[in-house]
Structures are given as structure tokens and as C-alpha cells.
């Protein structure tokens, strides 16, 4: 079947028509390249096992609250202890908690990503330190010596790669700490850790409530699936909720691979949409190339008929057709793979902007065994898809009729049906891809345009984390915040200063809230609101508009004071039709503070805490003065009156004067910070946009090609009809109606499928159905224009011919 002679003949035919060959290879390269890229990208982002021995069985267990999944170590120790005891199908388990550490040295203090780790954390990844040792059970005992395992980068930067670093000391969060080991280069487990500290939990802590939280790390036993673990977790957590309704209401646990655990809510919808769009685009490209090869098959039908007459078996003819597809798809696949490799390399630098901090260590994009395998699968699939169309045509043709020239007249039934199927398929695929892609693009555009409630222009932001040991009283924390605020504002290069526990655009704690006079049936019925503390004056300085009442002033200073400002979204929700000023609310969840009633003194505009597209963007907020409820973590916003380098220098100088152990970290402009909020989704949106553009080009050219082919093959039929007295308008109407029917056959299921994807993406992006409706109408209009133009122009071209010529048209 695949004789060398046929291969040579296929090569000769392709070389004879370089334009055709280049076009088909280009189409396949685009389709394959984009699909290979996307599959490889998503695999690395979400599915690739961590690069450790037994990495495929390593999973993380964390908290979920009312279905919202957390990551980073939020599971209460007590809950984890129960899970650890009752969970079946695991071989090893460990515990961790993501945190940060202020490391002080000769050059001042620096903040590093830290992980508090159980003694066997490194064993879970089968990785040994390159210097020294890892943790022992003794290290994790309460009261043991302060020790740390440091990462390769910290070793290089802080100790200049000193091989004698083991047993040297550093100051971590103000405490002298002995370095006991150095991990290998590129090791950042569990996510982006640069230093590991022993997690010290007493046995009492593990069995008592409200003693802290962490994330579980387990190895699955052979034969146990992630779904099994999640089912068990659901059962365990439901039981705990029944036992402890007060503390466990709405609290669940979920297990996921490390990459999946960082993807965030709605990731399944997003991943499914991307995979579907990618496969559909590849199908679209394959159909286009298949159609081009089909046109060639039609052109060469006489030659094929002669071959059949000379005794060529059908398998040989099909084989010859497949050789052409094989060459086109293979060359297209190689080109696509090369382009994908380049794009993946570029992607690595782009993904570094997805997170506020360092990117996750498994985000290493490039050609790997998965990429090569998926490329092979795609190439083989496209060979079959593109080759089957002409092969079908070949096997179904009436060769005798071709040889007798008996096909003159109308287009054959089979060919007509095939062409209709092609157009309908192209319309369906393009509608599906375009609606899904445009929903994402429009959703991202809307998310980027959303008002966070703050004026972010020309503002520099930074974070400071107070050391618990040094700021162990609320007075000390409140005093620090006030002093930092005042000293920063006293510098000439800095204008207004605002200090928040979480600036608009940053995620924050959302405890349950009680409104005075409202009855709550159980713990689950309390509403939640973002709870933010700030220095007085911060709201107005950052541009959060006052709606009623007043901002905080000096009268709100004092740990004993109980005043609160709420957002208008909170007021609309819980004080509808009333003046909220003077009303009282309280934080129902335990805050380390006695729950007391807080009096509303002002109402400000809604601020978005976190990403503008996430469901939490609609959560209302309450604000308290930092002098009443001080915190350890602070975000500083400084309006710049000088160059950002000067402002940064000033900030560091001020901090060093107040406390040399406190570094400022995550220093960036507010605009950059906000941009990072949507950087990941923005990138995905750009990929979707690229897919949409390519889909539109492929679909337009494909539909036009098929329509031109169809109408051209029906030239004689048009000639006959005109000879019989059909007016041009009648024929035009007839073809347009046929085009409309094909449009409807394709666009209705395409809209349903694409609309479903768009709806799911809309939920993820918090865009309404009106946006989806607008996208659907726009996409259907564009496709309708394409189909009608693709029908009208070739029909008009045939009608330009005299009927006598059309009748003789070959």
C-alpha cells in the first residue's frame, strides 16, 4: 500500500505545486503548533508530576470553605490530625505551612519565602540536602534549638556559596538560627520556598482547636486515586461538621496534585475550555487541509479513473492520497513543534509575571516527553483526518462515468453532501471556538476595566511583616504602624501614605460578620466580609470615595475604640433602605480579639479585594483603624513625588531606622501589582484571542474555499438552469438559501456548544449572561457574513459567465 513509488509520486506532486504545498503545510503548522503548545503549556501548569522520584503520587490536602478551595496550608491542625488518622490509601504523610521569614545579615534584612515543615518534608520528595542534613523529629519539638535548612539561592546570595555554611548562624525573624543544611539548586518544594524552618506543634496543639493550620502532603498508595481520597475527605469532613457545627460549619478538605492546587477556583472549567478550543482548532485546520486535498482529488479524478481502469487496487489509491497527507502533516508537525518549542521558551518569562511572588518551581516550559508524544498523536490524527476526505472521494467516484465524461451536468450527490458537511463542520467549529474564545477575551477586558476603588496611578507599594517575637503586644504593632506612616510622609519624595492590612486588589481574610438585630440560625448563615485594618487617613489618601458619614480620624485612635467603616456594597446588602451610620456590626469569627460590637461611622465605595474577575471581587468589605486592631502584615502605598528608586531607598531607610530586622518586600508600583492580578488570565485571554483569530482566518478561508469549490463544480448546473430561463437573482437566492441552511445547521449546535463553554467561562470571570449574549450575537453575525459572502461572490462569478460558457465549463 505504502509503496516507495507512491511516496516519490506524492513528493513529485507536492513539489509541482509549491504554492499549494506551502499553504497546506502552513495551515497544518499553525494548527499543530498552537495545539501542541497549548497542550504542553497546560500539562506543565496543571498536570505534570513534580520532578521528584514518586512525584506522580505526591498530593496536597488543604482546606475548603463552603466549596471554595484554599491552598498554602489552611487546614486546622485538629482537622488534619483526624484526616491523617482516618484516611486510607496513603503510604506517607507530612505537614507544611507556607509563610515568610525576615532574614537579617550584614547587608540588612531581607524577606524570603519560607516553609514551616514537618521533619519528613524532604523525604516526601526523596531529596537530600547537598550540604549538612535535613530535619529530624528532635528539630520539630517545641523548645528545640532554632535551626533552618536554606535553599541554594539563599546560600549563594547570603553566604556567597560558602561551603562551610553548615552550623553558621543567621537571624530569622529576629531569632538566631543555625543553618543545618543546604538544599540543591532548583529545589523550592512545596511551591517557592527559599528557607525551611521546623514546624513545631505540640501534641496538645494537634488535638485542640484554634491552634494553627497547615497543609497535608501525602503519597498515594498504589491503586488509590485522587478521587478516592477526595471521597474519603468529604465523608470525614462531613462527620466533623456534624460533631462540631460551631467550628466546622462549611469547612471541608480537598486533595489535589501540587500544580492543580495552585490553579485556583474554576480551573477545571478553564482547562477544559482551553483543551476543547485547542482540539477544535486542530480539527478546523485539518478540515481545511482535507478540503484542499479534496479539491486536488477532484482535479485529478480523470487520472485516478485511468489508474482504476489500468487495474490499480483501491487500497493503493487511498495509500497514495495518504502519502500526501502524511508528508504535509509531518512537515507541518515538525514546523509546529519547533514553533511551539520557541513559544514555550518565551512563555517561561511571561509566566513569571503571573504571581505576585516567585513563580512555582515546576513552571519549566519546553519540549519534554509529553510534548513529543502529544505531537506524534496529533500528527497521526491529522494525517487520517486530512487523508480520509480525498480517500472517501476517491473510493466513491464513478470512474467509468469520469472516463466517459458523463459527469457533465450537476454535482454528484455524494460530493454535494460532502461539501455541505464540510461547510457545516467549519461553521460549527468556528462558532464554538469563537464564542468560547471571545467570552474569555471580553471577560478579561471587563475584568481589567473594573474599578478596584483606589487611585493606583503613581503609587509605589510594599509589604512589611512584623516579627511576632518582637511585636508581641497590640500596642507595639499599633505604634509601629503609626510611626511608619508618619515618618514616610515626612519625606520629601513621598506624598500621601496609606497603610492597609490589604490594599484594594489584595486578597484578605473574610470572617463571618453579624449585624445587630439580625438573627442567625447557625454558623453557616452569617455573612462574610473582607476585614481590613488601616491607618487613619488611608482610605481618602488612596482615593476610596466617601459615600456617607466620615472617614477615620484621630477620634478613632485607641485600642479600646470600636468604630468601623463599611463599603456601600455592605450597606446595600445588610442595611438596605436604612442609614447605616450609627448601626452596629461585629466580627463573629474569633479574631484573637473579644468579639465586640463595632459602630459604623462611615460608608465608602466598594473596593475589590483580590482579583477583579474572581467571585470574591463582589464581597463587601469593612475597615477598622489599625490603632484599634493592629496586625502583623501590612501593605504600604506611597504616592511618589520623586523617582521610584528614591522612594524605595527612603522606605528602606525609614524601616531600618525603626527596626533593622524588618525588610520591605514585594516592592512594586500599584499599577504593576494590579496588572499581576490579571496577568495569568490576561495571558490565557491572549492565547484565546490568538486561537480566535486563527479560527476566524481558517474558517473564513475554509468556508470560502469549500463554497467556491462547490459552486464551481456546479457551474454547468447553473448554466443549465440559466438556459432553462432561471434569472440570475433566482439562482443567487437559491445558493444563498442553501448557504443559510448550512449556516443554521452549523451555527445552532456551534452556538450551543460554544455558549456552554462561554457560560462556564463567564461564571469563572464573573461576567453576566448579557456579555455572553453579546458575544454570541457578534460571533454569529461575523460567521453569517463569512458564509453569505463565501456564497455570494463565487455565485456572482459564475453568473458573470455567459450561459453558453457555463454549459461547456469543465
Amino acid at each position: 500500500m505504502f509503496a516507495l513509488q507512491d511516496f516519490n509520486y506524492a513528493v513529485r506532486l507536492l513539489l509541482k505545486r509549491p504554492g499549494f504545498t506551502a499553504l497546506t503545510i502552513l495551515v497544518m503548522a499553525v494548527g499543530l503548533g498552537l495545539s501542541i503548545y497549548l497542550f504542553s503549556f497546560l500539562n506543565t501548569m496543571a498536570y505534570k508530576p513534580l520532578p521528584f522520584k514518586d512525584g506522580e503520587s505526591l498530593i496536597v490536602i488543604d482546606k475548603s470553605l463552603n466549596g471554595l478551595e484554599y491552598n498554602g496550608g489552611n487546614l486546622e491542625f485538629y482537622n488534619y490530625q483526624v484526616i491523617r488518622e482516618q484516611l486510607k490509601g496513603i503510604t506517607e504523610h507530612s505537614l507544611y505551612s507556607d509563610t515568610s521569614a525576615n532574614v537579617s545579615g550584614r547587608d540588612g534584612a531581607r524577606r524570603y519565602n519560607a516553609t514551616e515543615a514537618d521533619h519528613n518534608l524532604f523525604q516526601m520528595t526523596r531529596t537530600k540536602p547537598i550540604l549538612g542534613r535535613d530535619f529530624t523529629v528532635e528539630d520539630t519539638k517545641v523548645g528545640a534549638e532554632d535551626v533552618a535548612v536554606i535553599g541554594y539561592d539563599l546560600w549563594q546570595n547570603h553566604f556567597a556559596g560558602d561551603p562551610q555554611v553548615v552550623n553558621q548562624t543567621i537571624r530569622v525573624d529576629g531569632k538566631t538560627t543555625r543553618v543545618i543544611g543546604v538544599m540543591p539548586e532548583g529545589y523550592f518544594f512545596p511551591r517557592n520556598a527559599e528557607i525551611w524552618l521546623p514546624m513545631r506543634i505540640s501534641q496538645e496543639d494537634m488535638v485542640q482547636r484554634n491552634t494553627g493550620s497547615g497543609g497535608g502532603i501525602v503519597h498515594l498508595a498504589p491503586g488509590t486515586s485522587l478521587a478516592d481520597i477526595n471521597n474519603q475527605l468529604t465523608t470525614i469532613m462531613k462527620r466533623l461538621e456534624q460533631e462540631y457545627p460551631k467550628t466546622n460549619a462549611g469547612i471541608g478538605a480537598h486533595a489535589a496534585s501540587f500544580p492543580m492546587s495552585t490553579m485556583g477556583g474554576g480551573s477545571n472549567i478553564f482547562l477544559t475550555s482551553m483543551y476543547v478550543v485547542s482540539v477544535l482548532l486542530l480539527l478546523l485546520a485539518s478540515i481545511n487541509v482535507g478540503n484542499l486535498l479534496l479539491s486536488r482529488a477532484v482535479e485529478r479524478s480523470k487520472e485516478t479513473a485511468i489508474r482504476v481502469a489500468l487495474g490499480a487496487p483501491r487500497a493503493r489509491l487511498v495509500g497514495q492520497m495518504l502519502w500526501e497527507s502524511t508528508i504535509i502533516c509531518t512537515v507541518g508537525g515538525v514546523v509546529g513543534l519547533l514553533v511551539a518549542a520557541w513559544a514555550l521558551e518565551v512563555t517561561e518569562s511571561i509566566t513569571a509575571t503571573f504571581t505576585d511572588d516567585k513563580p512555582f518551581f515546576w513552571w519549566k516550559f519546553g519540549i519534554d516527553s509529553y510534548t513529543v508524544s502529544i505531537s506524534l498523536i496529533f500528527v497521526i490524527s491529522t494525517i487520517l483526518i486530512t487523508g480520509l476526505l480525498p480517500a472517501w472521494k476517491n473510493s466513491g467516484a464513478d470512474f467509468n462515468a469520469v472516463l466517459r465524461d458523463g459527469t457533465r451536468g450537476a454535482l454528484g450527490k455524494k460530493a454535494g453532501r460532502l461539501n455541505r458537511v464540510l461547510v457545516i463542520s467549519e461553521v460549527f467549529l468556528s462558532a464554538c471556538v469563537l464564542i468560547a474564545a471571545c467570552s474569555m477575551v471580553v471577560g478579561t477586558y471587563i475584568a481589567n476595566k473594573r474599578d478596584y476603588g483606589a487611585d493606583i496611578e503613581n503609587v509605589l507599594t510594599a509589604k512589611v511583616r512584623l516579627i511576632e517575637a518582637n511585636y508581641n503586644t497590640r500596642e507595639k504593632r499599633a505604634q509601629f504602624a503609626k510611626r511608619l506612616h508618619n515618618e514616610l510622609e515626612n519625606n520629601v519624595g513621598i506624598g500621601d501614605v496609606a497603610i492597609f492590612s490589604a490594599l484594594p486588589g489584595e486578597y484578605t481574610w473574610s470572617p463571618t460578620i453579624a449585624v445587630e438585630g439580625t438573627e442567625y440560625i447557625n454558623e453557616n448563615s452569617y455573612p462574610r466580609a473582607n476585614y481590613i485594618v488601616l491607618t487613619p487617613g488611608s482610605l481618602q489618601k488612596i482615593g476610596v470615595q466617601l459615600r456617607s458619614g466620615r472617614y477615620f480620624d484621630s477620634s478613632d485612635d485607641g485600642l479600646e475604640k470600636r468604630t468601623v467603616i463599611i463599603t456601600d456594597s455592605f450597606a446595600d446588602k445588610y442595611f438596605a433602605g436604612q442609614d447605616p451610620v450609627g448601626k452596629r456590626i461585629r466580627v463573629a469569627e474569633i479574631d484573637g480579639d473579644e468579639p465586640r460590637w463595632l459602630t459604623v461611622v462611615g460608608v465608602v465605595e466598594h473596593t475589590i479585594q483580590g482579583q477583579s474577575f474572581s467571585p470574591s471581587s463582589k464581597t463587601p468589605s469593612i475597615f477598622r483603624s489599625i490603632t484599634q486592631a493592629p496586625r502583623f502584615n501590612m501593605s504600604i502605598a506611597m504616592r511618589m513625588k520623586a523617582d521610584d528608586a528614591i522612594v524605595i531607598r527612603t522606605l528602606r531607610k525609614v524601616l531600618e531606622q525603626i527596626d533593622p530586622d524588618l525588610p520591605a518586600h514585594l516592592i512594586k508600583t500599584y499599577e504593576e501589582k494590579i496588572a499581576r492580578n490579571t496577568a495569568g488570565i490576561g495571558f490565557a485571554s491572549k492565547v484565546f484571542l490568538l486561537f480566535a483569530i486563527v479560527a476566524l482566518i481558517l474558517a473564513s478561508s475554509g468556508i470560502y474555499g469549500v463554497m467556491t469549490n462547490t459552486i464551481s463544480q456546479r457551474t454547468q448546473e447553473i448554466g443549465v438552469k440559466r438556459a432553462l430561463g432561471a434569472e440570475d437573482s433566482h439562482i443567487t437566492r437559491e445558493f444563498i438559501w442553501a448557504g443559510v441552511k448550512q449556516l443554521l445547521w452549523g451555527v445552532i449546535p456551534g452556538t450551543l456548544a460554544g455558549g456552554s463553554l462561554g457560560y462556564a467561562l463567564g461564571l469563572m470571570m464573573s461576567t453576566g449572561t448579557d456579555v455572553l449574549g453579546m458575544v454570541i450575537v457578534s460571533v454569529v453575525t461575523v460567521i453569517a457574513i463569512v458564509v453569505l459572502t463565501a456564497t455570494f461572490l463565487p455565485t456572482k462569478r459564475v453568473l458573470m459567465m455567459e450561459p453558453s460558457l457555463a454549459l461547456r465549463y469543465e
Binding site: 437573482s729 433566482h730 450561459p803 460558457l805 454549459l807
Partner: protein
């Protein structure tokens, strides 16, 4: 004397390509009367099919005048030409040119569907009548691919006569048929002529040409002979 149905005066047809100017017809003048049975013959490429296309308003002349019935149709709009083709002219082609997606009945009905003055029932009656005339009523629901060549051409004849045209134009109607089927089709045309139809047929088959009342011979785009059956018989 019969009325003049077709009158051509000084008809020229030149095909222009990028480099070559081909004179397909040069100064053709002829008339065809109502009820006449005319054959046009000549060697391949002599211009006979071009002449038939011009008569059938499938093409326009480069120069000259053409009157069909009482009307000058030399310079009329495309729509008007389509309307005349539909009402006044019936075509029979060498390769039948039936629409393969339509059954026999639908093929015959096709030209009638372009008329606005006919009801569906009228169309059905006309189709039945035409199919009866060619003895193909029993195959009304068959598709062209299910018919023999001779049967397909009979359907094409039915399609040509269904609308009661003023003239039937046949372009090599037996060219794709064996002698038996060719004879059957020619007998059908004879019958139609006998019933009063005007027929103009292009053929290079002398046996077919002999059946016509009048024979026109074309060579290099010019009429070189125009003889009646009687004069041909006398000459023989």
C-alpha cells in the same frame, strides 16, 4: 406562408483572448420560420454550436441584429433574455444536462418553476403531459442516475417541451447515444415537429440532418449552404 420566427442579420461573434482574436461567426444572416425543422451542420469548430447559443440567447453577438418573433433581442437585458429563454425556447443538450439531485418529475418541472404565472397544479399537469409525450411518465420518481442514456435524453426532451416553447433548440441530441436510442430520440423530434413544433438542431450526423426540412451548413463561421429537403432530394 409561415411567419418568420427567427431573423438573424449580419451576426458576428468574436472571442477575445489575451493574444488571439477568434472569429467564430462572420456575417451570418438567416431566418427560421414558425414550424420549420432546421438542421445546422458542419465540421467541428465551424461555429455551429456558437450559432445555436446565439439563437438560444445563451450568448450575445459581437455585431448584427437578431429578431425573435416580433421583438429585437439583440440588445436586451440579462433578465429579459432569461425570461425569453424560459418561455420561448426549449433546449436539448448532447450530454442531457439533467440535475442529478432532482428526480425526473422535478427536472421536467424545473423551467416551469421559474415562471410566476403558473400554479403548482398547472405545473404538475404540464409535466405529466410532457412526460406522456416522451413516454417517461412511469419513471417520474426516478433519478437521472437510474436511467439509461436514451431515457435521460427523453426526459431532457420532455423538459424542453414542457413549457410549450416557440422553438426547440437541440445541440447534438444524439451525440451521446447509441444508434437505437438515437433513432428513438430523432423519432420523438419528428413527432414533435409533426405536431407543429419549430426545431433547430445542431448535428454532424448526416442521418439526423436528413430528417430536417431544411439543412444549413456552416464552415469557418459562415453559412455556405442553406437547402430545403426538396432541393436536397432534387440535387441527389
Amino acid at each position: 406562408m409561415s411567419e418568420v420566427l427567427i431573423e438573424l442579420k449580419g451576426i458576428k461573434k468574436v472571442f477575445f483572448t489575451e493574444e488571439v482574436e477568434t472569429h467564430a461567426l462572420s456575417n451570418i444572416s438567416l431566418t427560421i420560420n414558425q414550424g420549420e425543422y432546421v438542421s445546422i451542420s458542419g465540421p467541428s469548430g465551424c461555429g455551429k454550436s456558437t450559432l445555436l447559443s446565439l439563437i438560444g440567447l445563451l450568448d450575445t453577438s459581437t455585431d448584427g441584429n437578431y429578431r425573435l418573433g416580433q421583438h429585437d433581442v439583440s440588445d436586451i437585458s440579462k433578465q429579459e433574455r432569461a425570461r425569453i429563454r424560459n418561455k420561448e425556447i426549449g433546449f436539448i443538450f448532447q450530454s442531457f444536462n439533467l440535475i442529478s439531485d432532482l428526480d425526473v418529475e422535478e427536472n421536467v418541472e424545473l423551467p416551469l418553476t421559474y415562471r410566476k404565472d403558473l400554479t403548482k397544479e398547472q405545473r404538475k399537469n404540464m409535466v405529466r403531459e410532457a412526460l406522456d409525450k416522451v413516454d417517461m411518465a412511469h419513471r417520474a420518481k426516478h433519478f437521472p442516475s437510474q436511467l439509461s442514456g436514451g431515457q435521460q435524453q427523453r426526459v431532457a426532451v420532455a423538459r424542453a417541451i414542457a413549457g410549450n416553447p416557440s422553438i426547440i433548440l437541440a445541440d447534438e441530441p444524439t451525440g451521446n447515444l447509441d444508434s437505437k436510442n438515437a433513432d428513438a430520440v430523432m423519432e420523438l423530434l419528428d413527432k414533435l415537429h409533426a405536431e407543429g413544433a419549430t426545431i433547430c438542431m445542431v448535428t454532424h450526423d448526416p442521418r439526423s440532418a436528413e430528417r430536417a426540412d431544411r439543412s444549413i451548413e456552416v464552415l469557418d463561421g459562415q453559412v455556405i449552404a442553406d437547402q430545403s429537403k426538396q432541393s436536397r432530394t432534387v440535387a441527389a
